[in-house]
Subunit: 451 residues, 2 copies
């Protein structure tokens, strides 16, 4: 369907250009023209579905660069606990009982929540299963995503099969909505040999199923907590002479297709390596605070020119998929911690949530800004809300005052997936019902210890 | 009107009691019975408006203990600037051009936003003007509030007149919705003699217009930044041998009717004094981070048994009046900063936003929990939202996942002020229009330098 979005304020995130009384023409999946409403209205009279954005602000869809989408099924299952107890006695214990169907339902729930909050692309790391999986959930919800399979030293054979199937079945599939990634869990759960092998697998899968312009990427947790060097030393009985990023670099696995989640406990040299190797960061402030991991040196990374994007992390450690929350916390946290109120200004944070997110996923040729030729991934925000009055500056409001519930209409890949807060492809009530049922059965399997 | 709220989950915040399939009977302004729906439905068949809370959670209305409500008119006017420049060149400069009507409109906008986010009581500090003011705005919006007049050494005569008029016209007025406070701006803008005088004025006004059960309280900024001792020394050419709270204690102005906003730069002795004098704290994490003031030692205050409540601060330094945001940030911030994920658990944070807030305003005999005999100030939260599925624990969801937009229905003083997200007493469109117009005129006066 062709669409003309008109009468709105467009925050393009391309050369910091804002267009008031603006319009966007969309043909099939692609943005074909961006300009003033009065001009485009004249040109696109017939054959275009009109979307009125009067009193609304149009932004590129938000890009969430670190998720474990399936885990929404465990939202609020356990909080406020010591980290080891939380992971071992609660999360890992119940996760063992999750079925492929649970993974599908959890990811579907996260997809719905993401879309309703203006997020159009989600980078998710979980266990790939052939039957039902996160890729199918995202495709069913019409959400763009990079779907990863998480790899551990203890299941190499299984992983390799999963990666091959994931790439074969899903890379660049579902009308180009879905791409895939190779996801070493972390430097302390994946040994150095396997780490290097996974780097090769990423390159092979890109050649086989992708292209230079649509690569399979590499998604890994790095330096989430300050004891990670010790964990690596303990796991592999090696001596670490450098920071964690330095360790990974010594394995020659870092390049521009690596997205490192968390990046909390980085040395200055780690940051220099990220810059040199063009490694991208996913900053997850809510999860890092809630799990008491610490605070990522985001202003330092930004100063050094590292690409820093934003992620919610899993719905267990957040407990939402809300990128508006992430933007606000990112903007205020680093000011408060560094005692400098000029750091991470609104404009920069909105870039981290859009165009920098696209770069972090090696997808900036197609998404992250409102530009002719890019895919039409947009969120239209209703500014006729008391908390968005009066209006001095749209970007300030988007970062400091707007909420996910202000998102009115969402377009992904040229398709209207939500209009006036109504999802077009998915029945929300049905998804919530599926989640409630899946949770009940999961608790039952846990109680009866059935896997 | 008599009301029966039925079929909901009631989080009473009284002895940590939760009632599933619960009901609340309200007669006139007061909660008359709280129990199981099946029992109350039988008892209150006729003469009660029924509110169905199926799939919803009922909590005491949230209590915002630090605001400058009128300042919503400046929301997003200036952000991301060095503190001095922000205050002097932007905020104070434009504030000089604000009229009594602007104060009324700003406070009305904040009142509307507060109610829509489940906040039923707001403690606000601003300039009292006889004609139009924050008290009138709150009364018009049916929002409960403590309205203060902010005092400075440079305008003692004016202040005293304003305080007398404020108390006379508004204390315990508007059906008991409105109380007032005496608000020394800060220890560095109010000299020691005036500080003591303001303490006496609070006591006089309580005797004259209030009672032991409905006191005029004392609302003051304390230790917002670490350079406050220097500011005091510079302003009054004295030597400070103690922390800021110690300084105030040496003036003999601290008692249980003092609410100290911010409390960022406190010494251990300051905290011990707060405990001994029963001084209450209002924690304002978003403002403290955004303005780079620092991080309040909340876990330490809580450990010492100080009453810690929560506030948004002004819509210039936040930029919303959203207590759900404040709860989530409070819950995660202190974990992250202290590297201890068990601090400020959800239950404790919800207490800070409700019953502890009531105590902080010396109003706990009437508000802060769902108990027979208390005023009916309630927020009903719709849990049928994707981000609130599945459900393991209501309190976890309220603090970590729920959003202000999930608030469905709000009761204040026994009156339904919002039902299914529709305000009953106020036309939102009209308030937003007033705010937009007031802002345009304010900018015009600023440009033409008209006061």
């Amino acid at each position: 369907m062709n669409i003309l979005i008109q009468n709105g304020t467009i925050i393009t995130m391309h050369n910091r250009k804002t267009i008031r009384q603006g319009a966007i023409a969309i043909e099939n999946k692609t943005i074909t023209e961006v300009g003033k409403s009065r001009d485009l209205k004249r040109k696109y009279r017939r054959g275009y579905k009109k979307v009125d954005a009067k009193g609304k602000v149009i932004i590129p869809g938000l890009i969430n660069t670190h998720q474990h989408a399936a885990m929404s099924l465990l939202r609020g299952y356990a909080d406020d606990l010591p980290l080891e107890e939380w992971l071992e006695k609660w999360i890992w214990r119940i996760e063992k009982h999750m079925t492929p169907h649970d993974i599908y339902v959890g990811a579907l729930l996260t997809a719905v929540e993401s879309i309703m909050g203006g997020t159009t692309t989600v980078n998710t790391m979980y266990h790939y299963t052939a039957e039902e999986n996160e890729a199918k959930a995202f495709a069913d919800a019409s959400l763009r995503g990079v779907i990863g399979h998480v790899c551990f030293s203890w299941r190499k054979k299984e992983d390799k099969k999963a990666l091959e199937n994931l790439a074969k079945n899903w890379h660049n599939k579902a009308d180009g909505l879905i791409r895939v990634s190779v996801d070493p869990h972390s430097p302390y759960t994946v040994d150095s040999e396997y780490m290097r092998e996974l780097k090769e697998i990423r390159e092979e899968l890109t050649q086989k199923y992708g292209s230079e312009k649509a690569p399979v990427i590499w998604h890994v947790h790095v330096a989430e907590t300050s004891d990670e060097p010790e964990k690596i030393q303990k796991a592999f009985k090696t001596k670490l002479k450098t920071g964690v990023m330095g360790y990974l670099d010594s394995l020659r696995v870092l390049d521009r297709h690596v997205i490192a989640a968390h990046c909390v406990a980085l040395t200055d040299r780690d940051i220099a390596i990220m810059k040199n190797r063009k490694v991208k960061a996913s900053h997850n402030p809510i999860s890092n605070l809630k799990l008491a991991s610490g605070i990522s040196p985001v202003p330092k990374m930004l100063k050094e020119g590292v690409t820093v994007s934003l992620g919610t992390d899993s719905p267990c450690s957040n407990n939402t998929a809300d990128m508006f929350e992430i933007m606000k916390i990112t903007a205020i946290l680093h000011k408060g911690v560094s005692k400098n109120p000029t750091l991470t200004p609104a404009q920069q944070v909105l870039e981290m949530a859009t165009i920098e997110g696209a770069k972090a996923l090696s997808w900036e040729n197609e998404i992250g800004s409102i530009e002719v030729g890019k895919k039409a991934d947009l969120a239209i925000i209703d500014f006729k809300k008391p908390h968005l009055y009066p209006l001095y500056n749209e970007t300030s409001h988007l970062v400091y005052a707007a909420k996910s519930a202000d998102v009115d209409t969402v377009v992904i890949n040229g398709k209207i997936v939500m209009e006036n807060r109504q999802l077009t492809a998915i029945n929300i009530g049905k998804v919530m019902g599926m989640a409630a049922k899946a949770k009940d059965r999961l608790l039952e399997r846990l109680t009866r210890n059935i896997k």
